[in-house]
Amino acid sequence: MTQTPDAPTPPPKPTRIAPIIQHDAKFFWDASDKEEFLGEKCGDCQQFRFPPRPMCPHCHSLKREEVKLSGYGTVHGWTIPRHPPPFGFKEAPIVIIVELQEGTRMVSNLVGVAYEDVKQDMEVEVFFEPTMGNHKVPVFRPRSKKA
């Protein structure tokens, strides 16, 4: 009698809600689905901006470039929104403002570290978590190794 190996248990269904995709940020979310972390940069003054938008806030140029970001940054601010329980999360997530190496800041989540151990300016790196509807969103974890 041959023994069949145990079928691998399927990963739990994601509960995180999918991003609302709008025209200007479509490239950002499409790239996230492929686990690529893209940013938007001015085609004239070369400065980065977030969230994506039609016009450069620094020089008002309408030239936009989509570029790959390093995915590295530091924690600028952090909290845990405990009440009311945030929709789409089994446990209250750590929410951070991350300052990316490219100079822009964005709001995201930090995982893989206890709240008490979060430090100002601690180094983090991007990875991707699945959402409902087969999408992925960028979130951060403590940086594994120095560049």
């Binding site: 609302i20 901006r49 601010g77 909290t79 929104p81 009311p84 822009t104 989540n109 100002q120």
Partner: protein
């Protein structure tokens, strides 16, 4: 500037603040407007225009309010600037009178949140990226608080002290949503955690309410309060290189403009009503108003400086933390409070010798921007 006309607040009024699920939103405004008109000694026929502040309306709320109080036919302008909507309406009213467009206008703010936000906290606009990271509005302030602690070594108790002060004041304010409730420092610190490090008692309640003012040219009537300055600054594109926390920019710019208009120094102000939707908000605001240096705001309540008997009492009404925060009505509620304080009519929460008052409101929240808008106004008895 010399052809600008003198502007006064002739009268003010307000509803009670709280959750009134059984009341129509207009009826709260009727209470506020009728009190303000009577206080001003103004007839409905004198009102040449109406400026209304409201965030969540509903659409047409201004017109349906006016139906109940016999004012019609005049221009009615409804303004939305997030939490600063009421003060923005007041600011536009003051400008219209100063520039000679009208000589008597009605301002009111109105909001009925209890019918809209049954889960508690207001959630950010869903397409802003903050919402998808599980961050409700209190979380935005919590991020600032956490950063502030890391930067200046501030202990969470310093934030809680602001709640103890303001709720202690509001306990004596018969119109406040949380009247009669004066929690201790321990109670504030051990209350349910909303967003680290801000506990439930450091967040303003969800409120319904309305407040009104009659603004115009002086009539020489007792109790008129002179508008020494009113300035509004909207948010700029958020500069990611900024060392600021979030949203103080508009407050700082509005304050600088108001101080410049009036020639008044921050240290001369006797009483303030400022935007304390969350405890950290009052601290950052007082720094932006130049009452102290950046990083020193957290010591103002514990040191007694901003307590009701202190040198510069802040939020003697209880502020948003105790009076409640009916968004569009908050600015006009602050104006009404300062008018009562300057007249010595504030009752049990009266501040001694208040000659010069300041009102500040901050409307925040839009991804990629510093904030929505801030209004700062300086007032004195005429």
């Amino acid at each position: 500037m010399s052809d600008r006309k003198e502007v006064v607040i002739r009268g003010v009024g307000s509803s009670h603040y709280g959750r009134f699920p059984d009341r129509r939103v207009e009826s709260l405004a009727w209470e506020a407007i009728l009190e303000a008109m009577q206080d001003a000694g103004a007839e409905a026929g004198e009102i040449e225009a109406v400026f209304v502040g409201s965030v969540f309306g509903p659409p047409g709320v201004a017109t349906r309010t006016l139906r109940g109080i016999g004012i019609g036919g005049v221009p009615v302008i409804t303004i939305e600037a997030a939490c600063a909507s009421g003060t923005a309406a007041y600011h536009e009213a003051c400008e219209a009178v100063a520039l000679g467009r009208y000589s008597c206008v009605l301002v009111f703010g109105i909001e009925h949140l209890s019918s809209l936000f049954t889960r508690g906290a207001i959630v950010p606009e869903a397409t802003d990226s903050e919402g998808r990271a599980g961050l409700p509005l209190p979380g935005l302030y919590a991020l600032q608080a956490q950063r502030y602690m890391a930067q200046f070594g501030t202990r969470p108790e310093a934030f809680a002290e602001v709640a103890v002060k303001n709720k202690g004041n509001g306990a004596h304010n018969p119109r406040a949503q949380l009247k009669g409730s004066a929690p201790t420092l321990d109670e504030v610190m051990s209350a349910k955690m909303i967003a680290e490090p801000l506990t439930f008692l450091q967040c303003c309640p969800v409120s319904d309410g309305s407040a009104a003012a009659v603004v115009g040219r002086p009539k020489g009537r007792r109790g008129e309060v002179r508008v020494l300055a009113s300035a509004m600054a909207s948010g700029q594109l958020w500069d990611h290189r900024s060392k600021e926390f979030w949203g103080e920019g508009p407050v700082r710019r509005a304050a600088q403009a108001a101080y410049a208009q009036s020639g008044i120094k921050p240290s001369e102000v006797d009483v303030l009503e400022v935007h304390d939707s969350f405890t950290i908000g009052e601290i950052l605001t007082l720094e932006a108003l130049d009452l102290c240096k950046v990083g020193e705001g957290a010591s103002l309540a514990p040191s007694g400086h901003t307590q009701r008997g202190g040198q510069q009492p802040v939020n003697p009404s209880g502020g948003l933390l105790s009076r409640g925060h009916p968004l569009g009505a908050t600015g006009t509620a602050q104006i009404a409070e300062i008018v009562w304080q300057l007249r010595g009519m504030a009752g049990a929460h009266q501040v001694p010798n208040a000659k010069l008052g300041l009102v500040e409101t901050m409307g925040g929240g839009a991804a990629g921007m510093e904030g929505n808008a801030s209004v700062v106004s300086l007032l004195a008895l005429r």
